[in-house]
Amino acid sequence: MNGDGVLRKRVIPCLDVTAGRVVKGVRFVDLTDEGDPVELAARYAAGGADEICFLDITASSDNRDTMLDVVRRTARNVFVPLSVGGGVRSVADMRATLRAGADKVVINTAALADPALIDRCAAAFGRQCVVLAIDAKRRGDGWEVYSHGGRTGTGRDAVAWAAAGAGRGAGELLVTSMDRDGTYEGYDLELLRAIKAAVTVPVIASGGAGSIEHCVQALNGAEADAVLAASIFHRDEISLTSLKTGLAAAGIAVRL
């Protein structure tokens, strides 16, 4: 089990949080309630999650305190890494999120409006704790970046934005295919390959996981460094244990 000397590929359950509850939609809409974030995070950590991701999908300033409280309560009892995002607009927001117990902070919309935010966050806390989330939707031969939780097209090319973000100091990219989100149709492997080819930081695949095979494709075929999923875990369609065992059986180095 140990001693392979290889950085393990990661499996990351993602909890989309609004008003203190976990929700999940399809293609970013039609949200359903999936439970209490602190309880779910503890369950996933016990089940073998390599990391846990919280995204505040309302991201209004009113909601920030609720979210930080969720992070604080989770960080007290969960001893695996926590990435937290949603509504982070400044170095001060990032500091508050880290102080609440996050290990990494995910930024998205604010970085699109002000790309230098990435530089400032990396300078303040080190690039290793700055995760740039990119919500991408297919357009012609490429992908367009969306902001504001997938509500607003930005006209930016996702691959160019990934390269620019990594260049400015994002230590990791969380790449979500909006076309696949919540559909169980599999990750957008072409998107992942295009972004992997453009950057030298770790890439987390997101959007579309419906089977173990989809995760194998993202990690092996598209060489993603981690797979993030929500629906399949919340609804117990695939347990973390069975997913990781399946990945190991496919020859992928994971932490069992």
């Binding site: 140990n2 001693g3 392979d4 000397g5 290889v6 950085l7 393990r8 590929k9 990661r10 950590a45 390599d50 604080r72 960080a75 007290r76 009892n77 001893f79 695996v80 890494p81 500091r95 880290l98 102080r99 609440a100 117990g101 290990d103 990494k104 300078a123 303040a124 806390f125 080190g126 690039r127 290793q128 704790c129 230590g171 990791e172 030298t200 930081v201 770790p202 460094d225 981690a226 932490r255």
Partner: protein, 204 residues
């Protein structure tokens, strides 16, 4: 009860480190000034962030000399460990000089930062009691220490190149990985440090 001072130099992974120590039965005091070290059984220097920001903050808090003078058990975590050495290549920063050596970028790494769970080979050291000769820990970093005395390295990992994943010189010990984020193996490391502080307290 073992009393530990956790140094708050601003950007630290403070909450999770403090919580991991409390989980193992220690009383934790978050310290921002030299007086906070008085009467504690051990000191923990956490760290997420950049070496330079951490050193500047420690300087403004007046904590550099007290940390250099501290003779009891001292645990550094991630950037906290890097601060132990003489210099860091990250922004060319002068560090605390508690252990001879420097901090270098992992230039042979396939991707940086090195993020995730990796194997760590462990030397027999009280910090690793009960963990066997190898286990997985969680890393998030781009730099790692290079002790001048090879014997000061007490754990190694491999990411494009072999690097020191932990170091010790007497009571000063540190880990490049995040025990507070490495599940049960990490909590064991924190418990072992608390036990070391407890032994020091009884001997005193």
């Amino acid at each position: 009860m073992t009393r530990l001072a956790v140094i708050d130099h601003g950007a630290g992974n403070l909450v999770s480190v403090a919580r991991g120590l409390e989980q193992n039965g220690a009383a934790v005091e978050v310290v921002t000034a030299p007086g906070g070290l008085t009467g504690c059984d051990g000191v923990v220097l956490p760290g997420v962030g950049t070496t330079r920001a951490a050193m500047e903050r420690l300087a403004s808090q007046g904590l550099i000399a007290p940390l250099r003078d501290w003779e009891g058990p001292l645990l550094g975590i991630c950037v906290g460990l890097q601060l132990f050495f003489d210099t860091s290549a990250e922004d060319d920063t002068a560090c605390l000089g508690l252990i001879g050596g420097h901090v270098a970028r992992l230039d042979a790494a396939p991707l940086l930062p090195h993020i995730g769970w990796n194997d760590v080979t462990l030397a027999p050291d009280p910090l690793f009691a009960g963990l066997g000769s190898s286990t997985l820990f969680y890393f998030v970093h781009s730099y790692a220490p290079v002790p001048t005395k090879p014997g000061d390295a007490i754990a190694w990992s491999d990411y494009g190149e072999r690097f020191a994943a932990a170091a010790r010189s007497g009571n000063r010990v540190g880990v490049q990985f995040h025990p507070e984020r490495s599940g049960s193996a990490g909590l064991t490391v924190l418990a072992n440090f608390i036990a070391e502080c407890e032994r020091g307290r009884r001997a005193a």
